[in-house]
């Protein structure tokens, strides 16, 4: 992982040309995007693991049985499906709240 702010720093006093500056800004944006996407994926995986372990492995045995494995695979699909659904409903509701609250903002 490259350091967000350390890698692209130039010595102070160096006159930076616009193209170089734009490239540096773009690089930074990309690192930030990647970092957030990674965090999101990690959070999702940790939640899936926690929830599906709870549902599919009620009594841990000496290994994961084939029925447990089947349950885990299905559970992951269901969790991702639920995440997608909640995401869509949440964003839709946020938009609606924002529109509804706009006229009363003038109070």
């Amino acid at each position: 992982m490259t350091s967000l702010f350390g890698a692209s720093r130039t010595p102070t006093g160096t006159p930076s040309n616009p193209a170089e500056t734009a490239a540096r800004v773009e690089n930074l944006k990309n690192s930030i995007r990647n970092e957030l996407a990674l965090q999101n994926a990690q959070e999702l995986m940790s939640k899936v693991t926690e929830k599906c372990y709870a549902k599919c492995v009620p009594k841990p045995g000496s290994d994961l049985s084939s029925s447990e494995q089947k349950c885990l695979a299905q559970c992951m699909d269901r969790y991702l499906e639920a995440f997608d659904m909640i995401n869509r409903t949440y964003v839709a509701r946020l938009k609606k709240e924002r529109v509804d609250s706009q006229p009363s903002d003038s109070l």
Partner: protein, 89 residues
């Protein structure tokens, strides 16, 4: 707020970056709420695992977010009522 002072950027780029970061932060907050709600609604709505959600599970998940919003605004209203009442007496 992000510190962009050490980056040797002109003020226009600083502003652009600042704005970008604010947008991404807002997006990350939404994302994190979606994680919380998915977890909450999963526990409330989903029974045993199969190859698809049942109709009941589906509608429970669909309602779960909206009722959460309603709960939140309902309770805010209640607190405001309480405060108004306490202020009046």
């Amino acid at each position: 707020m992000a510190d962009t002072a050490g980056l040797n950027l002109d003020s226009v780029s600083q502003k652009e970056l600042q704005q970008f970061i604010e947008t991404e932060q807002a997006h990350a907050r939404v994302q994190s709420q979606v994680h919380n709600l998915t977890s909450l609604c999963w526990d409330k709505c989903v029974g045993s695992i199969s190859s698809g959600f049942s109709g009941k599970e589906q509608s429970c998940l669909a309602n779960c977010v909206d009722r959460f919003f309603d709960t939140s605004s309902f309770l805010v209203r209640k607190v405001e009522e309480k405060r108004a009442f306490a202020g009046a007496s």
